[in-house]
Symmetry: C2
Subunit: 342 residues, 2 copies
């Protein structure tokens, strides 16, 4: 079984974007804010948006199940206030839930949170709980920079974030640490901000003792961990300078990397440097890089090909990367699969 | 001959830091600002600070020459105003120049600029010209974020920076794109901000047509290019989505990566993915990661070992990485060496 732990609903029907555009316009005084109930998308529209896109590619690539969350770049927590984010998160999470009920064998939801810059993360707990209890979500996406590239929040090791962590531990769910659109012109969203955030989050954990406070907390650092595996020696050395334990003891019981690295040499490095137990299969398709690599003739984001071709991995390693690690890191995913006899 | 293109004067006599502390204190109203002339460091003190440190390690590692610039983390362009940075840059550049005259076979200077957030970069030109004409500098360090982690400057592709580029082209010098200390608590300086800046700068160039305006402009992206080589497929794919030429044509006539990657798998990836013509030897010692790697028994930043051990490189490749590329990318270095019969 192959589980893709990193999929976003990037192909939602146009009505979603139109609703959001009206919401954003209303913040600028243009028109009234739309009600959530004004967004109407039928099951058929949802089916269509998935069948010809994510599901088609999953079948093509032999992927069985995707952990599916709202489009990351559309979270845009920097827009408006908590109420703006709250309405928007509720809508987006409901759509991912509906996709999971329409395609229960292929999609299981993860939640975006109604974060807002400067607002206490504890305000996100009602939506988090609704997504877990009512929608069967198996994880959350946590944005370490709801300001969208201005980095005004405290580091992830700060007590600011503890209310979220307490709930994550209570419900035994991991968080993917995932930023959204950059509104800072210095940072290209998918080419700089995403990767920078991955590196930044990892280093915030490294310099802290967060996982002493929360030994059961689990973060997935996406996009192959940003710059981290490539600079693994640097991070090992910095930890040593800071008198921290070896990274495997200090961080690798709690931090995991996905395989959203879009060429063979990158995956080879990732799987060589990072213990197999900490690598989880993912593609983030249909996402930032949708084209065909002229050097291979295959989609850049068809990451299964790179894992299959990685010569240092055994079949047992691949099974862990494709399935075993995901079941371990996402216990609610495992439980949901077992309940369906898988 | 082995040229290390990335060395900072991290071991300057304590008097330098004390002078700076007084300067910074004066900005907070504590005492008068010290005059530049109040800093007195003798040639013997300079010699001692180098001989037992950088030079000792260069001899140990078989490195011949270092391109030597003021300590990156001490540039701290976010402190004070232009006048603060101007006095400080002048002092720091003079010290590196003096080191180069004391050890002319082993050190050649590169300049820091008196950048200041929100100040026109054209104000840096007098110091830049002084460093080239009077001090024989062969390059500059350009800080894309003088705010120190708040990223308030326009992207490197913006006309804001063009006055510097015009001078770089006029004098045929490259710039190493290098940030300084982060004063944003989200970013650890050497573990996040440095690497993020490398990735960010590369992406700023990728999305622009900067090198159409300045075909002769040359940037060195340090720390092995941040996250870039590890995500080379992502960047190739993003360039393709943006309808840019292939990266080798779009950027690799102008952008070069150093080898400050502190473990073998990282160097293996770098030298495999990036054309040899774009890789320049560097260690940034004595810098961010000063310890011994317990996995190898050697210094993390002893990058020569990784280059020597990279199995995909031929002897001719190594010669280019160690010397040939540096002479090509830094023509004033080449001229200075030739003038000394090297």
């Amino acid at each position: 079984m192959i589980i893709d732990i990193h999929g976003h609903y990037t192909t939602a029907p146009k009505a979603l974007e139109e609703w959001r555009n009206r919401q954003v316009a209303s913040l600028g005084g243009k028109g009234a804010a739309p009600k959530a109930s004004e967004l109407r998308i039928s099951d058929d529209e949802l089916r269509e948006s998935i069948e010809g896109n994510q599901l088609a590619k999953m079948r093509e690539r032999g992927l069985d199940l995707t952990i599916f969350s709202p489009r990351a770049s559309f979270m845009a927590h920097h827009i408006g206030d908590f109420q703006t984010s709250s309405t928007w998160a509720a809508i987006c999470n409901e759509l991912c839930f509906r996709v999971s009920t329409l395609f229960p064998d292929n999609f299981i939801p993860a939640a975006m949170l109604p974060q807002s810059p400067g607002v206490d993360p504890a305000t996100c707990i009602p939506e988090l709980e609704r997504c877990i209890k009512d929608y069967g979500n198996v994880a959350i996406n946590l944005n370490p920079d709801p300001s969208g590239g201005h980095w005004t929040s405290p580091p992830l090791s700060d007590r600011h974030w503890y209310p979220i962590y307490e709930k994550m531990v209570e419900y035994d769910i991991p968080a993917m640490v995932h930023v959204s659109t950059s509104c800072n012109p210095a940072f290209h969203t998918t080419g700089a901000h995403y990767l920078n955030a991955d590196t930044t989050a990892f280093m915030q954990c490294l310099t802290s003792d967060l996982f002493k406070d929360f030994p059961a907390l689990r973060f997935i650092v996406p996009h192959g961990g940003g710059a981290v595996p490539y600079h693994w020696g640097r991070f090992r050395g910095l930890a040593q300078e800071l008198k921290k334990p070896l990274l495997k003891d200090h961080l690798l019981n709690n931090i995991f990397f996905d395989t959203c690295v879009y060429h063979q040499p990158g995956i080879d490095l990732l799987t060589k440097v990072i213990p197999v137990a900490n690598v989880l299969f993912a593609s983030e398709m249909i996402g930032a890089v949708r084209g065909i690599d002229p050097e291979t003739g295959h989609a850049f984001d068809d990451t299964r090909r790179y894992i299959d071709a990685a010569t240092t991995l055994s079949d047992a390693d691949r099974q862990r990367i494709y399935e075993g690690n995901a079941r371990r890191v996402y216990p609610r995913l495992d439980a949901a699969l077992r309940a369906r006899g898988r």
